[in-house]
Structures are given as C-alpha cells and as structure tokens.
C-alpha cells in the first residue's frame, strides 16, 4: 500500500489570502496564533518578517504589516473541502488536522501513471484552488505525513527505505512537544534513528506507550486505521477576500476557486448540480444574492464559469464585497454517458441546453421561454409560455388545438379600434370579408368572452384579426395580425 500525504504549510495564511492571485498579494500579511506569528506572505518575509516573532517585534520591522488572528475553524472547513476535492484521486481520504490530508494511493498510482504524475496533479490542482502543498508518497500514512511536514517530498517506495529516511530526521519532526524533546536532547538522542536503536521496552517505560505506538505506526509495524472522510451531500464554500472588491467583474478570480473546489467534489462523487446559490457579503449592507441555473445537472467547471461571467457582467454591487459564499443544491448523480444501440431519431433528441443556460445567465431566468398549447377556446388562453425547464410534452398529449386559420401574431391585449360609418377603421375603413366566427365561452369563470371574429383587410392589403363584442357597447378590437402568412 502507498499513501499520499498532502501537507499545507501555509494553510492559516491561505484561508485569508487565496482569493487573490499571488502576484497581486502586495500587502505584507502575517497570521498570528496568540502573541506570536506563525506564518506570513512573501511580501512580508521580504521585509524580514518570519514565524516566531511577536506582534510587537514584527510591527517594529514593518510598519504596514497586517496581522490577522488565526482562524482554526476556517482551516478545518478548508481542509474538509479539500478532502472532498481530493476524492478525485482516491476513494479513501482522511483529514489530518491541523493542516494535512492523507490518501490511500495504491490503486491511483497505476491509474494516474506513477508517483510523479500523481504528485504533480495534486500539486497543480491545489495551486489552482489557492493552496501550496507538499506531497509525499510513502508505504505508511504516518510516515508520509511526517516526511511531508518536514518538507521531504521524494517518494518512498518501501518500508526499508522509509526507515532509513525517517532515521535521518531530527526528533522535532515527531512533534512530541518541547518538554519531551528537551528530555531526549539531554539523553543525547538527536535524531529519530537514535530513538529507533533503543530497545522498545525501555523506550515505552521512559516515554510512555504512546511514543512506542507512534514509532511502530510510522514504520508500518502496527496497523494505523484512518477514519475515511465522508464527502458532504452538497457543497458549501466560503472565501474571504483579502481586500474588499468594488467591482463585480473582478470577483471572477476568487469565484473560480470555489467553482474548482465544487468541481472536485462533483468529480469525486460522480455527480452534477443544476443550481448554484451565490451570496456576496458586504460590510454594512444586506448581502447580494443570485442564482445560476443549468438546464441539466452540470459538472464542467468551465460551463459554470461561463455562466458566472455572464451574470457578473450585468450585476451592479451596492457596496464592495468582503466574502463570497457558494452553496450548491443537493448533488445529483450524473448519468454516465449512454451510448444507444440504435441511433436516436432526430425528432426525439432534445436541442443542446447550454445555449439556454448562457442566455438565462445574462438575460434573467424569465427572459427565455418556449410556447405550448392549452385546451381553451378563448384565443388569449389557447396558449401559454412554457418554462424551458418543463419537459416538452409529446405531441399526441397536447390538449390544445392547432388552428391554421389563426393569425401568426397575437397582441398582448386587444386594442380598441375606431369606428366610422358603423365600420371598424384603421388607417382607412377595414374590409371585413365574408363570414365571422363566433366565440362565446368561459361563462363559468371570471373572464367570459362573447365575440364575433373577422379577418379584416386594410387598404394596404394587410390582414388583421379583429372582433366585435356581442354585448355591451359592441366595440371593435384588434386582436391579431396575420403577418401576411399563408391564408388558412
């Protein structure tokens, strides 16, 4: 068995800074745990800031240093999102707080084409999410984690080699705490090798069974069960921006990180989502919310990014954005691509939905619609808008009536027509032709109609669909235009 450890040395910093590209991170920034700094960005270290300094000393070195307190909760949440993302490489991923993951990688090695490729993929993948990682492959999870934490990233092929590698590490690599470390130093134990050469019973007596167990697990002499991470059934990501962003379009970079993370989860779960809920948090305004929808469960991050760009382009922000939150709906299983035995007939295939998604993202959900028939004799109720999410009904089930003798255009509401010499008038008297159609129905609900419909021709030769009310003032109305279509 081989284990891949991913150690994230800068995680406390990255939970704050990953919303910005590295080259844009100009402000010196350091993260402190209590009084002392634990990590800082490049721009800060260029000015002499390093881990271990007290806040006061750091400020003396660099006056414009921004110091933020570490947020362990955010780090844990980030680790869990990364664990979900890492399920693309292995079905067994474990979270090792405070800043590492370990993956069972035996089978993945062959699938991904070797240790180097796998490590490379993991590293570039994490970099695209805004995290720097050290990746080490070793035959035991504890061994891989220890080597990665110490910065040794060469893959270790077998137990023998692992023992040799570990033996060369100083005692501090075991993370036993300052008291034990001092104790060992006084005993003249300065590397793990010295520790391993001691007889086991004596070691346990002096430093406790725990250390003995730890060493055995490091070397693979004792089982080391790891609790596998269970991926969530929906994505919930949050990204704090290092500096407030005033323009919507400038959010794309940061949003991309969340989308990539989501895509990792989707890939690992063989799932897709159809809806994404975005929330943009401002300093002192209610949050801005919007949704992105796709016509079918979607996994491809590029597609989502395209939709997001369209949406952000027409978004005006009430105030600068501090934090971006992305929530997905419950993940939906993505049907594996199905190959039909017989080619599908053209009529049964549905048009490509990605155009719909693009149009809706930019123009709004209600701006793109289809049409369908409704079984009602009232002309204005004989049809309705069909949402593009609705399944198209098979033609035979259509309750409505297709009518060849109807106009191609209907006015949104009937327009009253003038009347001269008892004839309807529109840029001249209208020729009513011969025959009318009486439509009298709907007496059972609130909008009954009782009308005589005529196909009228204007002096220009344009054909109109007009009606006269049968009751009341018996007024004339224009209801439709034939658009010079073929006559019924």
């Amino acid at each position: 068995m081989q284990w891949l450890a991913l150690h994230l040395p800068d995680l406390p910093l990255e939970v704050f800074a990953r919303g910005q590209a590295q080259q844009d991170q100009q402000t010196p920034l350091a993260i402190a745990a209590g009084e002392r700094l634990i990590v800082c960005n490049r721009s800060a270290s260029a000015q002499g800031i390093r881990a271990g300094l007290t806040e006061g000393a750091a400020r003396a070195l660099c006056a414009d240093l921004r110091i933020l307190q570490r947020r362990p909760g955010d780090e844990q949440a980030a680790l869990e999102r990364l664990a979900a993302w890492a399920m693309r490489f292995s079905d067994q991923v474990s979270v090792v707080p405070p800043q590492a993951l370990v993956l069972e990688a035996g089978r993945s090695l062959r699938l991904f084409g070797g240790a180097e490729t796998l490590c490379g993929l993991a590293q570039t993948g994490l970099a695209s999410l805004g995290y720097q990682a050290r990746c080490t492959l070793a035959p035991t999870p504890a061994g891989a984690l220890t080597l990665a934490a110490w910065g040794l990233t060469d893959p270790v092929a077998n137990h023998h080699l692992l023992r040799r590698r570990l033996a060369a590490l100083p005692i501090a690599a075991l993370g036993l705490g300052p008291r034990t470390e001092q104790h060992m130093a006084r005993m003249g134990l300065d590397d793990i090798g010295a520790l391993l050469r001691l007889p086991g019973a004596g070691l346990a007596e002096r430093f406790g069974q725990a250390l003995q167990t730890q060493l055995e697990r490091l070397l693979g002499e004792r089982p080391d069960p790891r609790r596998p991470f269970t991926p969530p059934s929906r994505y919930h990501g949050r990204l704090d921006l290092p500096a407030e962003v005033p323009e919507a379009v400038a959010l794309v970079f940061a949003c991309r990180r969340l989308i990539d993370e989501l895509a990792g989860l989707l890939l690992g779960r063989q799932a897709g989502v159809q809806r994404l809920d975005w929330t943009l948090l401002h300093a002192d305004r209610p949050p801005t919310r919007f949704q992105l929808g796709a016509a079918a469960p979607q996994r491809d991050p590029e597609r989502w990014l395209l939709l997001l760009r369209e949406r952000l382009e027409r978004l005006t922000l009430p105030a600068p954005v501090r934090t971006i939150v992305l929530r997905s709906e419950t993940l939906r299983p993505l049907a594996a691509h199905q190959y039909d035995l017989l080619p599908r007939t053209e009529a049964s295939a549905a048009p490509d939905p990605s155009l719909l998604d693009r149009l809706r993202a930019r123009l709004g959900n209600g701006a793109v619609r289809g049409l369908c028939l409704v079984g009602d004799h009232r002309p204005e109720l004989g049809w309705r808008w069909r949402s593009t999410d609705e399944p198209t009904i098979a033609k035979s089930n259509d309750p409505g009536l297709p009518r060849r003798d109807r106009p191609l255009w209907l006015l949104p509401s009937p327009v009253p027509l003038a009347e001269r010499d008892r004839r309807p008038y529109l840029d001249g008297p209208l020729d009513l032709g011969h025959g009318c159609e009486r439509i009298e129905t709907g007496w059972w609900d609130d909008s009954p109609v009782a009308r005589d419909y005529y196909v009228a021709t204007t002096a220009r030769g344009e054909r109109l669909w007009i009606y006269r009310e049968m009751h009341g003032a018996r007024c004339w109305f224009l209801h439709g235009l034939f658009g010079d279509g073929p006559s019924g």
């Binding site: 009529a347 106009p407 030769g461």
Partner: protein
C-alpha cells in the same frame, strides 16, 4: 464607325481568350448558380434567388414597413427546420407568436425559443448562431449599427446558420453587409417582394406572391 467596331471586336476576342484560359475570371452575369439554398416555400421567390432558396449561411435582411410584417414569408422555412432537434430562436419578436396558428401550420412548437433581450438582442442572436444549437435565428428591427450587422453576418456565415433580421424599410438606404436583402410589402393581391441585393446575383427583381 468601322474602326470602332473592329476595336470592339478585338477587345471582345481578347476577353474571350482570357475567359477561356483562366478559371479565376468569369462574367459577372453568369455567376455560378448554386442551388444549395433552403427552399422558401414560394417557387417564384426560389427562382429569383441565385441560391434557389434562402441562403444557408449569412444574414438575410427583410425590410418591412411595420414590425411584424412578413413573418409569414419565413414560416415555411421555420416549419421545415423545426423537424431538426435544434432551436428556432426568436429574439424580441414584436408581438406574441401565436402558438395555435404556428402549430396549425405544422411548426413543431417545442423547438421554438422566444427570448426577450432588449439592448442585448445583438448579443443574444450571436450567441444563438455561435452555439450551433439553433437551426435559425430571427431578430426584429432594432436600430442596429452597421458593426452589429457585420458581426451577425460573420457569425451566420461561419456557423452556416441562417440569420433572419426584420428591419424597418427606412433602413433600405443604409449600406448593409447582409447576404440577401429583400423588401416585403403587403398588397391586396398578396405579398410583393423586391430583391435589393443578393450576393453572387442581381438585385432589382420584383416578385408577387
């Protein structure tokens, strides 16, 4: 008189020789007829067009007096295209496309996509063309700048998707990159069409449908 006629004739023969020898020269009048157009559903119109139907790729501009006019002119095309599993995208139609009538003429309603785009209409039409998911894209009017028309013509030509744009007849004087320009006006005897321009052929024909 004689010398002139002779000069004419010699010039004529030089031209003939050139035409015979070179394949990249041809007479303007007899452009190669390509009958790969989409049938318009009106034989008289098919005959007047060099493509023997609506051009498959490129912008088709239909000049009308009132918004909504001449929709019936493109209906046979839409009906024929609606058998394909692709959208017929209507961007900002002037009135409600009346579903019972469209279905009554045989249009497959589930292919119809109506989009309210407002100022984004040129963008929406281009998206429709570029997506490859549309069998045809229709737009109405809008006071489009020539660059907008050019983009549309380009998108339609590159994707081999017909783009139909209805524009007010007052724009007839504006130059247009459209592949085909028609004017349509209703008369008591039916629709009268005037071909203003067609690439690879002559304009000026009048057709009474």
């Amino acid at each position: 008189m004689m010398p002139t006629a002779e000069a004419d004739r010699s010039g004529f023969s030089v031209l003939e020789q050139l035409l015979e020898r070179r394949s990249d020269l041809w007479r303007g009048g007899d452009t190669p007829v390509r009958s790969d157009g989409l049938p318009t559903g009106f034989p008289a119109l098919d005959q007047a067009l060099v493509t023997a139907g609506w051009p498959r790729n490129g912008l088709i501009e239909i000049l009308v007096e009132r918004r909504g006019d001449a929709f019936g002119l493109v209906l046979p095309l839409l009906i024929a295209l609606s058998v394909q599993p692709r959208w017929l995208l209507l961007v900002d139609p002037p009135w409600l496309p009346y579903a019972p009538a469209l279905a009554g003429h045989g249009l497959e309603l589930s292919r119809l996509l109506v989009c309210q785009a407002g100022e984004q209409a040129p963008w929406a039409m281009e998206q429709g063309l570029r997506s490859g998911a549309c069998a045809a894209v229709l737009g109405w009017d809008a006071d489009w700048p020539v660059q907008g028309l050019r983009r549309l013509q380009l998108a339609a030509a590159e994707t081999a998707t017909p783009a139909l744009l209805f524009r007010p007849v007052v724009r007839a004087r504006q130059p247009s990159p459209a592949r085909l320009r028609l004017q349509a006006e209703p008369t008591t005897a039916g629709l009268r069409l005037t071909v203003h321009k067609q690439r690879g052929g002559n304009g000026g024909q009048q057709i009474q449908l």
